[in-house]
């Protein structure tokens, strides 16, 4: 049934009996045209756009657990396109544009909320870098505004400007940035893909690839062999584990990124704010929780949990700019496994194995990329040519010296 205010009221008056399942539970067919591994945001979005935009059919999404149980359900829900480099900016701007029409496209309210994102500036060098970035954004057709400290204080009067160790000298704002209800993204794409006939198969783990003379014929799974023309890997933090089954080594390390939420509070933070002299970024969810995070723990990990030093470091950053946070309480901390790439930018490319495609290396930037990642991956799968906004995300860019390194820290994944 279509989602609408009218139907909500109609159902309310008839005891909500009419709502059907958001997506079907299906058992896998023997073969598909496309098998997408990974029922996270990117995998479900890929399936949706393959079916809807590129008119493909016989599509299956295989998820080893429950859909949306990975990073799409454990991130800090921020969307933005404030990227600097040519290889990245158009892609993330494309993603932001897809976010802007997402709810109507999916008929699902994912609460895309363009409340703005603000990066604080604390030094002249940082200002120079942010001006360069802001200009790059505008040249690529994105929005950016340089704010003075006075302008910032108007929106965030409680910011610690004068008493701070690193005084705030201004900020770079992207007003079209904001937040999205993360779980709803996975559910919305799942429901829409399901309505396009995509088979979403939960609790179906890929245990191997069937590869014969350089061609991938299908995948072995915990629910048996599934044959297919094209296999699309889309498993973020588990990328290295999965691709090892195809004998591949990746320019990726898996790291744990912790995220935090406070108890519910009445509105205090209108937008997303990022501390430039420490490791802290924060927004407030519609339920009232302050959602915040900082750096990755910094060591390879497949455990979805971190340790105290980073928790303390993040809270130090929070107290540095919001000294009122002291009496707010941290409610819950959790970790996600980040597929940290060697230059901090993703890979969306064919592999050297025919019929096997790869999407990964998202670092901690995967959530905001969800719509575009799905769209351009679907483009690559359907047409075997990269989408123009993602042409730089190639495997061979490292060997050829064409890295896309926003942070400029090189082949040190835990620094990106």
């Amino acid at each position: 049934m279509r989602y609408s205010g009218f139907n909500v009221i109609k159902q309310a008056l008839s005891g909500h009996k009419g709502w059907g399942p958001a997506w079907r539970d299906v058992t896998p067919k023997e073969s598909y045209d496309y098998v997408i591994i990974g029922g996270g945001g990117h995998g479900l979005a890929t399936a949706y756009y393959l079916a809807k935009q590129f008119k493909q059919s016989r599509i299956a999404v295989l998820e080893k657990g429950w859909i949306g149980g990975g990073n799409v359900g454990r991130n800090t829900t921020i969307i933005r396109s404030n990227y600097l480099l040519d290889g990245n900016q158009p892609f993330y701007e494309f993603s932001l544009q897809l976010w802007e029409g997402l709810e109507q496209e999916l008929n699902y309210n994912a609460m895309v909320s363009q409340r703005g994102i603000l990066n604080l500036i604390h030094s002249d060098a940082q200002r120079d870098a942010f001006i360069r970035r802001g200009n790059a954004m505008i040249l690529h057709g994105a929005d950016a505004e340089l704010l003075s400290t006075r302008q910032i204080l108007r929106r965030y009067p409680f910011l610690n400007v004068n008493n701070a160790r690193f005084p705030i000298q201004g900020g770079l704002a992207q007003h079209r940035g904001g937040t999205v209800r993360h779980d709803a993204v996975a559910w919305g794409y799942a429901r829409a893909a399901d309505q396009c006939g995509v088979d979403i198969i939960q609790n179906c783990e890929v245990t191997g690839f069937r590869i014969e003379n350089g061609t991938c014929l299908g995948v072995e799974t915990t629910q048996g062999f599934i044959g297919t023309k094209k296999v699309a890997a889309c498993v973020a933090g588990s990328s290295s584990r999965l691709m090892a089954l195809a004998g591949m080594r990746l320019p990726i390390e898996s790291h744990v990124l912790q995220a935090f939420v406070s108890e519910g509070l009445k509105p205090v933070l209108p937008g997303v704010i990022t501390f430039g002299a420490g490791h802290f970024y924060c927004s407030q969810s519609d339920k009232g929780g302050l959602v915040f995070g900082g750096d990755i723990d910094g060591y390879n990990s497949y455990a979805q949990r971190g340790n105290l030093p980073v928790v303390e470091d993040v809270c130090e950053g929070g107290m540095a700019i919001f000294p009122m946070l002291g009496r707010a309480r941290l409610l819950r901390m959790w970790g996600g496994i980040m597929d940290m790439s060697m230059d901090g930018s993703p890979i969306i490319d064919k592999t050297h194995i025919d019929g096997l495609y790869f999407n990964g290396g998202w670092c901690y930037g995967g959530f905001k990329a969800t719509p575009a990642s799905g769209y351009v991956y679907a483009h690559l799968l359907a047409t075997d040519t990269p989408h123009h906004t993602a042409a730089a995300y190639r495997f061979d860019r490292f060997a050829k010296g064409r890295m896309i390194d926003e942070k400029g820290v090189g082949n040190q994944p835990n620094l990106h």
């Binding site: 290295s240 990746l250 320019p251 990726i252 390879n300 455990a303 490292f398 040190q412």
Partner: protein, 95 residues
């Protein structure tokens, strides 16, 4: 986390700086035929196993030793810690 430093005993991991896979000890020969390809693999490709991993930690807030720590990336259990210089010498001779 606690890292059992071979000389100093258990020390909080927050005293250390992490670099990554201890394979970085094995820097390719700059004069070999396919040196550039070898350096690209060395610099960019990782096993990134879910399980035991030999990795490099620098005791920056301690004795400035680089250590090779064998740690399970799924449980964080540490099974061995050695001075990287010992490992480097041993494995350089081995090859």
């Amino acid at each position: 986390m606690l890292i059992h430093h071979p000389l100093l005993g258990p020390r909080d991991a927050s005293e250390f700086v992490y670099k990554g896979d201890a394979a970085l000890i094995h820097r390719p020969d700059w004069q070999s035929e396919d040196a550039q390809a070898q350096f690209a693999d060395y610099g960019y490709l990782r096993d990134n196993p879910a399980g035991p991993l030999r990795e490099l930690w620098f005791h920056e807030q301690g004795d400035r030793s680089w250590l090779v720590v064998t740690r399970d990336t799924t449980s964080h259990e540490i099974t061995s810690v050695e001075l990287a210089s010992d490992v480097a010498r041993r494995e350089a001779r081995a090859t």
